[in-house]
C-alpha cells in the first residue's frame, strides 16, 4: 500500500515538474480555465479530481435501530403491531404485559400499518420497495403483496358497499393507491398533493382523507398551501382537494367520530415574512386544522402557547367518543391533549373572522389544551386501544412505545423495542436534529424545515444581510456530505460552521448547540444518503435518459459547434457529486454555490431563490442567453431527455 502511494506520488511530482518546465503557470492556467474562477483562493485540485462518493459517510454501512414507525391494534385490543422500518421488521406485542411477542422480517422498510376489521390481515406499506405487503396475523407470514406508488408511508382500511378497501399514501409519487382487499388489486391511483403522508377514513367509510406533507409548488412569493385530498375509496375518485393556507408538514390525520371533523396537525409557516425575530411564532408555529367533512371548510387552531412551543406535530388520534384528541409533538417530546368539546364551544361562540384569525393568536390554546403528556425522544405515531382506554405513543428515537392510561393520562409503562442506540453517533445526531429544545422557546427543530433530512419546498428570508429581497430556497440535506461549502453564497466551509454559531444566530436565537452534540448532528447529516430516484432496477438508462446523458456531457452542440468549457453541464456539475463545489453566476442575479444533483428530481423548486418550479423551468424561463449552460440549441424533446437523465442522478 505504501509502495503504491509512493509510486503515485512520484508520478505526480514528475508530471508537475514536466508541466512546470513546459509552462511556468500551467497549473494555475489549468485551474483557472477548468474552474472558471478568477480567484483561486477557494479552488484546489480536489474540486474536480479524486472525488469519490464511495468514501462518503452516507455510502458507509451504519447501525440500524428499533425505531417504531406505524402502529396498528388488533380489534380485540390484545395485540399491537409495530413497524420497525429501520430493521425491516414488524413486531407484535402484548398490550397488557407490554412484552414483544414476535418479530418478523418484512423487506423494504415497512412503515405504515393497518389491520382489517376481523383482525386477520395486517397491511404493511414498504417504503423502499413501493409495495404493500399483507401479513397473516396468526402466523405473521406474508400472504400477499402488491405494487403501489413510490414510497408508500401510510395505509388505512375501510369497509365500503363495494367491499373492503385500502387507501395508501405514496409519498414520493404524490398519489394515492386505492386497493380492493379481495382480490388484492389496485383500483385506481388518483393524484394527491405533494408528499401524501397520512390517511384517515370517515366513520361511515364513505370518504378517505389524505394529509400531504409538502406544500404545492407555487411561485416563490405566493402564499404556499398544502393539501388535504378527499377521495371516495369505493370508486377511487377524487372528491375534493382542500388547501391548508401557509401550512405544511402534516404527518397525521384523524376523523372525529361524533362530529363531521377531520383533524390534521400542521406547521403554520411564515416563510414570506423576513425572519427578524422568532418570538411570537414569527417563523412557524404548530396547529391543528379542522376540516368540516361536509362543507370542506377549514379552520386552523393553534397548539402552542405564548411563550412555549411544541414543535413538529405529527401523529394524531381521537378517542372513540370524540371528546379528546391527542397530538404528538416530535420536537417537543410531549403529547398534547385537546379537549374537543371546549374547542367546539369556542368555535360556536366565535364569528367567522375570529375563527379565521384563531391560528395567529398564540395565547388561545389554553382554552382547549388540557394537558401535555411528557414522552421520551421524538414521539410520532399514536394509536388508541379499541375501547379508548389506552394510548400508545411511538417514541421513535427512544426505540420504545409509551403506554398511557388515556383516562387519567398517567403512564402505564413502555414496550421496549431496543436500547435507544445512544452508542451510535448517527442516532445521537438524529436526536439533536429532531430536538426543539435547542431553539428559542422550543419553537422548531432542524427537522421542522428538513423533514427526514429533505426539504420543505419553501424559500425563507433571513435577515442577516438586512431586511430586503433575500428569499432563499431551502436545500436538501440528503447527500450533502462532501459537497461543502454550504449556504447559497458558499461561505460556510463545513457543516460544523453551518449548523453551529451561524444557525444559532440566524435561526435558533439561542446559544449554539454544544460541541459534542454538534458533532453528533453533523455526523447524522453526513450519513443521510441522497433521496431514492426512479431508475431501472438493473441501473440501465432508458433511451430517453441515455440521450439526456449525452446532452449533459456534450462538448459540442447538435450542429457541431464547440460548447465553451464553462457552459457545459458537466463542467460545474461534475460527477460523481455533480458539483465542483464552486460558485458561479448563472444569470439569476448573483454568484451562487453550485448545488449537487444527487436526488435532484425531488428537490423542487430550483435555483437559489426557488424561482424555477421544475427542472424544465430552469432553462425555459430562467436561462436567458445561455446563462445557465448552452441549452438554447435544444428542442423540446432534447430538453425533456436532459431532464429525464437528471432525474436518474
Amino acid at each position: 500500500m505504501k509502495k503504491r502511494a509512493f509510486i503515485l506520488l512520484l508520478i505526480l511530482v514528475c508530471f508537475a515538474s514536466v508541466a512546470l518546465w513546459l509552462r511556468q503557470n500551467y497549473w494555475i492556467d489549468h485551474m483557472r480555465q477548468m474552474s472558471g474562477q478568477k480567484s483561486l483562493a477557494n479552488v484546489s485540485c480536489f474540486n474536480c479530481h479524486l472525488v469519490s462518493t464511495a468514501k462518503l459517510r452516507w455510502a458507509q454501512p451504519r447501525p440500524h435501530h428499533d425505531a417504531p414507525a406505524g402502529m396498528a391494534i388488533s380489534p380485540d385490543g390484545k395485540k399491537i403491531y409495530i413497524a420497525l422500518d429501520d430493521r425491516d421488521e414488524v413486531a407484535e406485542a402484548d398490550t397488557t404485559s407490554r412484552q414483544v411477542l414476535r418479530r418478523v422480517k418484512v423487506a423494504g422498510r415497512p412503515f405504515g400499518l393497518a389491520i382489517d376489521a376481523a383482525g386477520k390481515n395486517l397491511f404493511v406499506t414498504c417504503r423502499n420497495t413501493d409495495r404493500l405487503a399483507v401479513l397473516d396475523t396468526q402466523t405473521l407470514q406474508e400472504t400477499g403483496s402488491i405494487a403501489v406508488g413510490m414510497a408508500p408511508v401510510a395505509v388505512a382500511f375501510c369497509r365500503t358497499a363495494a367491499g373492503d378497501r385500502l387507501v395508501v399514501a405514496n409519498s414520493m409519487s404524490d398519489d394515492i393507491s386505492v386497493l380492493s382487499v379481495s382480490p388484492l388489486q389496485e383500483l385506481g391511483r388518483p393524484s394527491a398533493g405533494r408528499e401524501p403522508f397520512a390517511v384517515a377514513i370517515t366513520p361511515d367509510g364513505t370518504r378517505a382523507f389524505v394529509a400531504n406533507r409538502m406544500v404545492r409548488l407555487v411561485s416563490v412569493k405566493t402564499i404556499p398551501t398544502s393539501e388535504v385530498t378527499e377521495i371516495d375509496p369505493m370508486t377511487a375518485r377524487t372528491v375534493r382537494r382542500e388547501a391548508l393556507e401557509s401550512a405544511h408538514q402534516s404527518e397525521g390525520i384523524c376523523a372525529v367520530p361524533s362530529r363531521s371533523w377531520m383533524l390534521t396537525p400542521l406547521v403554520k409557516v411564515r416563510n414570506l415574512v423576513p425572519i427578524t425575530q422568532v418570538a411570537n411564532g414569527w417563523v412557524m408555529s404548530s396547529g391543528l386544522a379542522i376540516t368540516d367533512v361536509k362543507s370542506g371548510n377549514v379552520i386552523q387552531m393553534p397548539l402552542d402557547e405564548a411563550n412555549n412551543y411544541f414543535a413538529d406535530p405529527s401523529g394524531v388520534v381521537v378517542d372513540s367518543s370524540g371528546h379528546r384528541a391527542f397530538v404528538a409533538s416530535g420536537g417537543g417530546d410531549v403529547v398534547t391533549v385537546v379537549d374537543l368539546d371546549r374547542m367546539a364551544a369556542w368555535l360556536d361562540k366565535a364569528d367567522p373572522t375570529t375563527k379565521q384569525e384563531a391560528i395567529y393568536d398564540m395565547s388561545l390554546s389554553p382554552a382547549y389544551v388540557t394537558a401535555r403528556i411528557p414522552t421520551q425522544r421524538n414521539p410520532h405515531q399514536l394509536t388508541l386501544s379499541p375501547d379508548g382506554g389506552t394510548l400508545f405513543v411511538a417514541e421513535r428515537l427512544a426505540d420504545s412505545v409509551l403506554v398511557v392510561d388515556a383516562n387519567n393520562l398517567t403512564e402505564k409503562g413502555r414496550i421496549i423495542l431496543g436500547d435507544g442506540g445512544l452508542n451510535d453517533p448517527i442516532r445521537r445526531g438524529e436526536r439533536v436534529f429532531t430536538k426543539a429544545a435547542y431553539t428559542f422557546q422550543h419553537q422548531f427543530s432542524c427537522r421542522s424545515c428538513h423533514p427526514d433530512g429533505h426539504v420543505d419546498g419553501l424559500s425563507y428570508d433571513f435577515d442577516t444581510s438586512g431586511i430586503g429581497d433575500n428569499l432563499l430556497d431551502n436545500r436538501s440535506l440528503l447527500g450533502v456530505a462532501g459537497t461543502e461549502p454550504f449556504k447559497w453564497n458558499g461561505k460556510n466551509a463545513s457543516l460544523e460552521i453551518q449548523c453551529g454559531p451561524r444557525f444559532a444566530k440566524v435561526l435558533m436565537r439561542t446559544d449554539p448547540i454544544p460541541q459534542k452534540e454538534l458533532l453528533d448532528l453533523t455526523t447524522f447529516i453526513k450519513s443521510q444518503p441522497p433521496q431514492r430516484v426512479t431508475r431501472n432496477e438493473d441501473g440501465t438508462l432508458t433511451p430517453s435518459q441515455e440521450r439526456g446523458k449525452a446532452i449533459f456531457f456534450a462538448t459540442k452542440t447538435k450542429n457541431g459547434t464547440e460548447i465553451p468549457h464553462e457552459k457545459r453541464c458537466a463542467s460545474c456539475h461534475r460527477p460523481p457529486l455533480y458539483s465542483v463545489r464552486l460558485s458561479f453566476d448563472v444569470g439569476t442575479g448573483g454568484t451562487f454555490d453550485t448545488p449537487h444533483l444527487l436526488g435532484v428530481a425531488n428537490t423542487a423548486p430550483y435555483l437559489h431563490d426557488g424561482r424555477a418550479l421544475s427542472l424544465e423551468e430552469i432553462w425555459t424561463l430562467y436561462s436567458t442567453n445561455d446563462s445557465h449552460g448552452v441549452t438554447s440549441y435544444m428542442n423540446k424533446i432534447q430538453l425533456n431527455d436532459l431532464v429525464e437523465f437528471l432525474k436518474t442522478l
Binding site: 412569493k221 402564499i223 404556499p224 393556507e245 401557509s246 403554520k268 409557516v269 411564515r270 416563510n271 414570506l272 415574512v273 423576513p274 427578524t276 425575530q277 418570538a279 411570537n280 411564532g281 414569527w282 408555529s285 402557547e305 405564548a306 411563550n307 412555549n308 391560528i359 395567529y360 393568536d361 398564540m362 395565547s363 388561545l364 390554546s365 389554553p366 428559542f440 422557546q441 428570508d461 435577515d463 438586512g466 431586511i467 430586503g468 429581497d469 454559531p501 444559532a504 444566530k505 436565537r509 439561542t510 446559544d511 449554539p512
Partner: protein
C-alpha cells in the same frame, strides 16, 4: 521517615490554619437560606432613595443554614451599612446583593462567594446600582441609578438596565424615558423587567422583556391599574410569573401565566390579607414568602414556605422579634436560563424597523378610519422632548420599512393623506445597533403571530432617518 511524618502533620496543620485564616467555610448545606433583614425598630427618616426606604440603616444580608435558628446566622454584608435584594448564582455558590458602605454613600452591587466568604464590590456606577440579576454567562444585570425619593418626573434621570460582564464595564441595555427596574431572567434567556411611566403619565406600570443584548424590547404583560406599582417579578417553577403589586397602601402578590400573560392576571394568594413583601421560588416548586406577621406582641415581617397552589400562608417558617425579614432566597443550584448569541453590531449606529401593516390595530374599529399613507417616526432625544425624525411612506399593503438611529426611544404616528394623525405610539421602543425589528401593526394585539405574506416595503428602497437631519428622510438602496 519519622521526620517526614512530622513534616506532613506540620504542613497539614499549617495549611488548615491558613485556610481558616483566609475565611474558608465548609460547604453550605442545601436548603439554607439567604435573608435580607432590617432591624424592627429601624427608622427610615434619613432615607434619600427608594432602597434606603426599603432597607433602612442596619439592614443586612445573612446566611441561615439548616436547621434554622435566628440566633445562628452568618452576616454576609458585615462591612456594609445597609444591604438587601439578595440573589443566588445558578451554581448556588455565590450571592449578589445591593449594599452601601455608609448612609451617605451610593448603593452598589456586591458579590460574596460562599466558599471563601470574600466580599467583592462589583459596580461603581454614579447614582448607584440596584436590582441585581444574572445572565447565564455570569454577567451581571442591574438597574441604575437608584431613584431618589420625591417621585419620578421628567427632571430626574430614570433608571435603566445595564449589563456588566465579569471584570468588564457596564453597558446600557435599555433606552427609554421611563423608569426601567427589577430585571429577572426568564428560562428562555430573556430579561423580564418592570417599566414605569413618569408620574405625570397616565399609563401604568407594565412588564416587558428584552434579549440579553437589549434587542427586541417587547411587552410581556400589562396589569390594568394605572395607579399601582409593580415590583420584583420572578419566574416560578409552574410557568407562572409572580410580581408584587402596591396599590393604595396594600401590598399583594399577583401572577400571570406564561401561556397567556395578557389574559391570566390573578392574585397569587386569593385568601391572604397580609402585606406581602417578597415572593421567591424555592425547591420542589415551593415559594418563600415574606409577609406581615400579626401574631405575637409586635407585628413584623416573617418568612413562610408554602406550596405554589396554596391559598393560606399558614405558620411562619421563621420569625425573628428583632428583625423584619424582607426577602429570602434558597441557597441551591437552580436551572440556568438559555443563552443567546447577540445579533448586534456595535460598529453600526442604526437599526431597521419593518412594520407589516400600519393599518392593523387592536384598538381600532375596522373601516372607520382612512388608511395610513405615511408614518412619522418620533424620537425622544431627552426625557419629555419628543420631535419628528422624519416620515416614511406606507405601501399599499400597509407595510413600511425605515432605517433609524439606534439606542434612542422611538415613537410612531400613522398619518392619513392630509396629514391627520390616525394612531400614536409613544416613544417606548428602541433598536440596538444593526438590529432588524418587525411589528405586525400599531397597537398590535399581544402574543400574535403574523400572516404569511410578503410585505411590499421590503422590495422598496429603505428610508433612512438620521438624528442629525431630524425631520428629513433619504432613500437608500437595499
Amino acid at each position: 521517615m519519622k521526620s517526614a511524618s512530622h513534616f506532613q502533620i506540620f504542613f497539614l496543620v499549617a495549611s488548615l490554619t491558613l485556610l481558616a485564616g483566609a475565611g474558608c467555610h465548609k460547604p453550605v448545606p442545601r436548603g439554607s437560606l439567604i435573608l435580607a433583614q432590617s432591624p424592627v425598630n429601624a427608622a427610615a427618616n434619613s432615607a434619600s432613595d427608594v432602597l434606603d426606604l426599603k432597607y433602612p440603616p442596619g439592614s443586612r444580608v445573612v446566611l441561615m443554614e439548616t436547621p434554622f435558628d435566628p440566633n445562628r446566622v452568618r452576616v454576609l454584608s458585615e462591612s456594609l451599612a445597609s444591604a438587601g435584594e439578595p440573589i443566588v448564582s445558578y451554581d448556588g455558590q455565590r450571592i449578589f446583593f445591593a449594599g452601601k458602605t455608609s448612609a451617605a454613600s451610593e448603593w452598589q452591587i456586591y458579590q460574596e462567594d460562599l466558599t471563601d466568604a470574600r466580599l467583592t464590590k462589583l459596580t461603581s456606577v454614579p447614582g448607584g446600582a440596584m436590582n441585581p440579576a444574572l445572565l447565564p454567562d455570569g454577567s451581571l444585570v442591574f438597574a441604575s441609578p437608584v431613584p431618589k425619593l420625591g417621585g419620578t418626573n421628567f427632571n430626574q434621570s430614570q433608571p435603566a438596565l445595564y449589563v456588566q460582564s465579569p471584570g468588564g464595564q457596564p453597558r446600557q441595555l435599555t433606552f427609554s424615558s421611563r423608569s426601567i427596574t427589577d430585571p429577572t431572567m426568564l428560562s428562555d434567556g430573556r430579561i423580564l423587567f418592570v417599566s414605569t411611566s413618569p408620574s405625570n403619565s397616565n399609563s401604568g406600570p407594565a412588564l416587558f422583556t428584552i434579549n440579553n443584548d437589549g434587542t427586541e424590547v417587547t411587552a410581556f404583560a400589562k396589569p390594568e391599574d394605572a395607579n399601582s406599582s409593580i415590583q420584583q417579578p420572578r419566574l416560578l417553577a409552574d410557568d407562572r410569573v409572580v410580581f408584587l403589586v402596591s396599590k393604595s397602601g396594600a401590598n399583594t402578590a399577583e401572577v400571570v401565566c406564561l401561556a397567556r400573560p395578557f389574559q391570566s392576571r390573578a392574585p397569587l394568594f386569593p385568601g391572604v390579607t397580609a402585606q406581602i413583601g417578597s415572593v421567591q421560588p424555592a425547591g420542589d416548586g415551593d415559594l418563600l414568602v415574606c409577609a406581615g406577621n400579626t401574631a405575637g406582641n409586635k407585628p413584623s415581617q416573617a418568612l413562610f414556605r408554602v406550596s405554589s397552589n396554596t391559598t393560606n400562608l399558614g405558620t411562619p417558617l421563621l420569625v425573628d422579634p428583632a428583625w423584619n425579614i424582607s426577602e429570602a432566597v434558597e441557597v441551591a443550584p437552580h436551572l440556568q436560563p438559555m443563552g443567546r448569541l447577540s445579533t448586534m453590531d456595535v460598529t453600526k449606529t442604526t437599526g431597521k424597523i419593518l412594520c407589516l401593516d400600519a393599518n392593523f390595530s387592536s384598538d381600532r374599529t375596522s373601516g372607520t378610519m382612512p388608511p395610513a399613507s405615511r408614518v412619522r417616526v418620533l424620537v425622544e432625544t431627552s426625557p419629555g422632548k419628543v420631535h419628528a425624525l422624519g416620515e416614511v411612506p406606507v405601501q399599499a399593503d400597509g407595510s413600511f420599512l425605515a432605517e433609524v438611529p439606534a439606542d434612542v426611544p422611538l415613537g410612531f404616528e400613522s398619518l392619513d393623506e392630509s396629514g391627520h394623525v390616525l394612531h400614536q405610539e409613544a416613544p417606548m421602543l428602541w433598536l440596538r445597533p444593526a438590529e432588524n425589528r418587525s411589528c405586525i401593526g400599531c397597537h398590535e394585539p399581544r402574543n400574535r403571530a403574523p400572516h404569511n405574506h410578503r410585505p411590499l416595503a421590503v422590495s422598496e428602497p429603505v428610508i433612512q432617518l438620521t438624528l442629525k437631519e431630524a425631520g428629513s428622510a433619504s432613500r437608500k438602496s437595499n
